[in-house]
Amino acid sequence: MTFLFDLIISFLLWAGLFFLFVGTIGLIRLPDLYTRMHATSKCDTLGTGLILLAVILQVPGYNEIIKLVLLGVFIWTINPVVAHIMGHTAYLRGEHHTPSTFFKDCYDTPYPGKEMSGKEDVHA
């Protein structure tokens, strides 16, 4: 029984490490800021979440568990917000993106983001 428990915990730890590793590789390999943000915001969230879950299963006492759960909740809520702020700032500043980037609008407004950002020529 304890062997199974250890197996689950080590699986969670390795899975968390794997996703953090993938996030770092993506940060190095992907071409521009926006695609890199995909790697960092998603993989860091799940990777730290899995590692925190593994630690939660191991620690004794409620006090530590409460602290670790709070840590997880903060990471899961703040990470997308920070990614959004970074992407928004980069978009407003007209940050460089890969030449193959497409711009699409599901609806009727002609240029995506033109009137949203107040910037004329981000799409060109």
Binding site: V22, W76, M116
Partner: protein
């Protein structure tokens, strides 16, 4: 230097102080004199320092039990989507030639309340191949890492779930 308004919102002041103090006692479980003194001093002091940014008790947030249950179901769906998003991203990143076709897409949500919109935007950020760049009224500017992800985000099934939460709250 910005002008600091005098304190006229004592309810908000003590509410924020109490939240900070309860967080302090959550973090430090012992109740000796030193701990309590420092906690109270820090809570009141920090609230006093940031007294221009207190809560405004404008609209009380009310929700029904059904909304709460739907929200918890939604969060479980969100965790499932986060896992699948990470696996998809790992597949993209670990290929030798990365099959990416990034782009911006503008989508419109049918959600009306601010809170559910924020929840939806953050869900988009955490899930398959998409990041919300900007939100203005009901329009979301989304960056997608592949074209398939961009196609999926326009009719994402999580939006229906959030709309269901909204509707079940309004017909009381």
């Amino acid at each position: 230097m910005r002008q600091i308004e005098p304190i006229n919102d004592s309810v908000g002041f003590w509410l924020v102080s109490m939240i900070l103090l309860s967080f302090w006692f959550l973090m430090s479980p012992t109740f000796d004199v030193f701990n309590v003194t420092v906690g109270v001093a820090c809570a009141v002091g920090i609230t006093y320092y940031w007294r221009t940014d207190l809560f405004r008790l404008g609209y009380p947030v009310r929700f029904t039990l059904r909304q709460l249950i739907l929200l918890i179901v939604y969060l479980f769906h969100l965790v499932y989507n986060v896992v699948t998003a990470n696996i998809a991203l790992a597949k993209i990143v670990l290929r030798r030639r990365m099959p990416i076709s990034p782009g911006f897409i503008l989508v419109r949500t049918k959600l009306t309340q601010g809170l559910t919109r924020v929840l939806y935007a953050n869900s988009i950020t955490l899930t398959p191949g998409t990041i919300t760049i900007n939100m203005d009224q009901d329009r979301l500017l989304v960056h997608a890492i592949t074209e398939d992800a961009a196609r999926d985000v326009a009719q994402w099934y999580m939006q229906e779930k959030l709309a269901e939460i909204e509707v079940s709250g309004s017909d009381r």
